[in-house]
Symmetry: C3
Subunit: 109 residues, 3 copies
Amino acid sequence: MKLLIAVVQDKDSNRLIEALGEGNFKTTKLASTGGFLKEGNTTLMIGCDDDYVEDALDIIRDNCSQREQMVAPISPMGGNADSYIPRPVKVEVGGATVFVLPVESFFQF
Amino acid sequence: MKLLIAVVQDKDSNRLIEALGEGNFKTTKLASTGGFLKEGNTTLMIGCDDDYVEDALDIIRDNCSQREQMVAPISPMGGNADSYIPRPVKVEVGGATVFVLPVESFFQF
Amino acid sequence: MKLLIAVVQDKDSNRLIEALGEGNFKTTKLASTGGFLKEGNTTLMIGCDDDYVEDALDIIRDNCSQREQMVAPISPMGGNADSYIPRPVKVEVGGATVFVLPVESFFQF
Ligand code: NI
Ligand code: NI
Ligand code: NI
């Protein structure tokens, strides 16, 4: 048995929890983190048998990997709107940090 | 030393924390979980010496085991109140999931 | 690799997160705990290589150790203000509890 502790972006967390549920993984979501280094992150705990760790990691990778997204910029206030051509800009979104912890024993009551 | 991570129902958590405190266990409550799979759950961390793991598990079992509870149904709106005989219904409440994690070292400052 | 789980006082947590960041430690802050035993505490998760555990512990010790603080007492309401000489009182503040957990594997996506 292992306990996976995954820190992911808030915006990816609902999709990830749904995908993990479809894979029959039980997930516990801890309330959002508030550290200034990790603004907007969510911590998930996922308990699973050793044989399923790879599957769980694969689901996390598929739903949360860091990726580039094109974002429409906000047009400049008070500029000359006629001559302004907005170009979408690339931003990095997503990303996941996962710790796989050994579990000595596990109980359900 | 072990670190117990227990996920229990919100409604059982205060009673459990009190019982653990009476048993001299130090408990840290993480803010409520919000995953759709685990609505209304609380995560507790309990650090204890190896010899006391059984005692802690016993307190969790005694206070949080899944059990049936009779609940009075809400009488139907607009029905004929005279002929309606409300029957209590059974619902499953409680339940606890506990991970026992090995601790390599422990410090208090 | 190790995962440090540190429970510290809310009032020390921002200074600690800043100090850990200056030491290049990645920190995840879990939402404030609310257990009656630990009112006003914050739980931090810090992942670090084995060689840096001592450094992380040192930063926690330096920023969160239990210590005495002089606090100005509130002058008694309705007392004779002329004859009342307020004396600062010592209170215990701070303190940290740290669990060092073994990590089996670690991933970043
Ligand atoms: Ni895949
Ligand atoms: Ni018992
Ligand atoms: Ni020092």
